[in-house]
């Protein structure tokens, strides 16, 4: 038999049935469609982005046009409401639906980008501090302590006196004041992860610190990171309102959900819809982001693949 002469390394048959890895985009789409919540999340997020982009075309009314004869009209399905103003009107008689539609733009922009900025800063600081430890950790963490202790409004006031207000400024300010949460959460996890064997293994290869942080530590903290950042979008959207209020960001007649919510505060007891619908918009958007985030978290965790398949049951 010719079996003896078989080369050691060849396995002709084995490769035959191999699936070639498909195009990444296709693969991700496939993965997304496998997850129900992931799909819903994507639909919501795409929907919100669509609304933001085409707000002016979609909005049934001019969001800034006040109509003093239509003040505080309730939503259509409540007695006294009309489908002309489906979600009712506010204290200046403006159409709440249109304001929500147009407000999407600012809220989404600020909500997402300031979280990204804060997240990036926090991620870098947290990983560096946790990984290197020692004096660097001490200095960075005391910096975090200081940021926690000094009220951010002080920084904001100073920013205000130096810079021209704009959305970019708003994003930067929120980013610069909110990174501490990420930094501390990330650092806490890094402390634990850096003691794992595989980090040691990588060190023994001579891997640079940077690579260890990027390839070994970072992927193992994404999960907590995704969770906090997705939720923070909600807080940031609301925070935007209070900072705009200080004169940092947008001004009427521009609208944002946060501002609508804050304005509606005074009418909670009497005209609930003013504050409720922008709140609902925030909740839906953030839910979408969270669903997407959870899905991403699962996909990134090689061991959690079950949830996306029928497999585990």
């Amino acid at each position: 038999m010719e079996a003896e002469s078989k080369p050691v390394m060849t396995l002709p048959r084995v490769n035959a049935g191999m699936k070639t890895s498909s195009h990444p985009l296709k693969r991700w789409t496939k993965l997304l469609l496998q997850s129900r919540t992931g799909t819903v999340g994507m639909i919501i997020v795409l929907g919100v982005i669509f609304v933001a982009v085409f707000a002016d075309l979609i909005a049934p009314h001019n969001p800034a046009a006040n109509n003093l004869s239509n003040i505080m009209q309730p939503p259509a399905w409540v007695a006294g409401g009309s489908w002309d103003f489906a979600l009712g009107t506010d204290n200046l008689g403006r159409d709440i639906l249109s304001r929500i539609i147009v407000g999407t733009r600012v809220s989404l922009l600020v909500g997402v980008f300031s979280v990204v900025l804060a997240g990036l800063i926090g991620l870098v600081v947290g990983i560096v501090a946790g990984y290197y430890g020692g004096w660097l950790d001490n200095v960075l963490m005391r910096l975090v302590d200081s940021f926690l202790a000094i009220p951010s409004i002080l920084f904001i006031l100073v920013f205000l006196s130096v810079f021209e207000p704009s959305i970019t400024l708003l994003i930067v300010v929120i980013g610069l004041t909110n990174w501490v949460t990420y930094a501390r959460v990330v650092r806490g996890e890094v402390l634990s992860i850096k003691e794992r064997e595989y980090v040691k293994a990588s060190k023994s290869i001579g891997t640079s610190h940077r690579t260890i942080m990027l390839r070994h530590i970072l992927p193992n903290i994404v999960s907590s990171f995704i969770v906090i950042s997705a939720l923070s979008v909600a807080t940031t959207i609301i925070l935007e309102a209070s900072l705009s209020f200080l004169g940092l960001g947008i001004q009427p007649p521009d609208v944002s959900w946060g501002a609508m919510l804050t304005d509606g505060r005074n009418y909670l007891a009497t005209n609930w819809w003013v504050a409720t619908f922008p709140g609902v918009a925030i909740v839906i958007t953030v839910l979408g982001i969270i669903f997407l985030g959870d899905w991403l978290r699962d996909v990134l965790d090689p061991r959690a693949q079950v949830s996306r398949k029928g497999g585990g049951k």
Partner: protein, 305 residues
């Protein structure tokens, strides 16, 4: 370990010093306190006179060093607005703040731990979805919103709790729920995500092979391992609660440090801002130190040197 502790405690001094300096610069840069003390139609000369009288005309460094000089003696100076010593003003508020912070933390923990664990165990079921929705709601509902609604529902319509103010335990319930839910939202999500990660570990399988009940599996073996991010958030939130429960304090007319601090900032009331930040910083540093110590307890592999 002892060395570590001592070093951490010693660090407090320079940190507080730096914080004081930064705050001084910020308040100084943030604007003129006198403008905010006098009514709208006070004239410029009135304001100038008051600035002069309060020593606010001195150059920055002179002001700063005189402040530090007093600070070393433990004197934060006197509030511009109320003409009272700043530190007692802050310390007077501290119990109310700590009381509220503790109560909110308890609410958060009571809500977050079972919900987070439950939603991790029921991952991707309808229940999980509801809990996720709930956390988003908890996070997206601003404190004023929830606070006012709670007052309307449980103090005005059904008169179960007092509307506002501080006093009995009953007074604590609504504000603590208001603050606690937001924190719980975040914690729930974090617990869920780290639990999901832990459920895949080999030692969970080991525990299962011993035949432990589900609750032991979850609450003992998995939960403890998932606590690091949760403890971090708790530490952070305590810090926030000490300084930033402003909105809730306002809604419930709760006389805490948050209200004081924000009024002081809005009034550029240097002494009070300094005293409040100082006290808050001290608390934050201690809480964070405790957090770091808790890490060690939670994960014996972590070591500090």
């Amino acid at each position: 370990m002892r060395k570590y502790l001592i070093r951490r405690l010693l660090q407090i001094i320079p940190v507080l010093f730096i914080i004081t300096f930064v705050v001084f610069v910020l308040v100084y840069k943030a604007g003129d306190p006198v403008a905010l003390m006098l009514p709208e139609d006070a004239s410029e000369s009135d304001r100038a006179a008051m600035r002069e009288a309060l020593g606010l005309n001195e150059p920055f460094l002179v002001q700063y060093f005189s402040f530090v000089g007093d600070l070393v003696k433990g004197d934060f100076g006197t509030s511009f607005r109320s003409n009272q010593e700043a530190l007692p003003l802050v310390l007077e508020r501290l119990p109310a703040t700590l009381e509220l912070a503790a109560a909110s933390m308890i609410v958060a923990i009571i809500l977050a731990i079972p919900l987070g664990i439950y939603s991790a165990r029921k991952q991707n079921t309808l229940t999980d979805l509801f809990i996720t929705g709930g956390s988003v709601l908890g996070k997206a509902m601003p404190n004023f919103w929830l606070g006012i609604i709670l007052i309307l529902l449980f103090a005005v319509n059904v008169q179960m709790f007092p509307v506002s103010g501080r006093g009995s335990l009953m007074h604590l319930v609504l504000p603590a729920i208001t603050l606690g839910t937001g924190i719980a939202a975040e914690m729930t999500r974090l617990i869920r995500s780290s639990m999901l990660e832990i459920f895949n570990q080999d030692y969970i399988r080991t525990a299962k092979s011993k035949g432990v009940s589900n609750s032991v599996l979850v609450y003992k073996h998995a939960f403890r391992n998932s606590l690091i991010p949760v403890v971090t958030i708790m530490g952070l939130q305590i810090s926030h609660l000490v300084s930033g429960a402003l909105i809730t304090e306002t809604v419930f007319a709760w006389p805490g440090v948050g209200q004081l601090l924000i009024q002081a900032v809005n009034g550029r009331d240097m002494a009070v801002v300094q005293a409040a930040v100082f006290v808050i910083a001290l608390l934050v540093i201690i809480v964070n130190l405790l957090t770091d110590l808790a890490y060690r307890l939670l994960d014996p592999r972590i070591h500090y040197s």
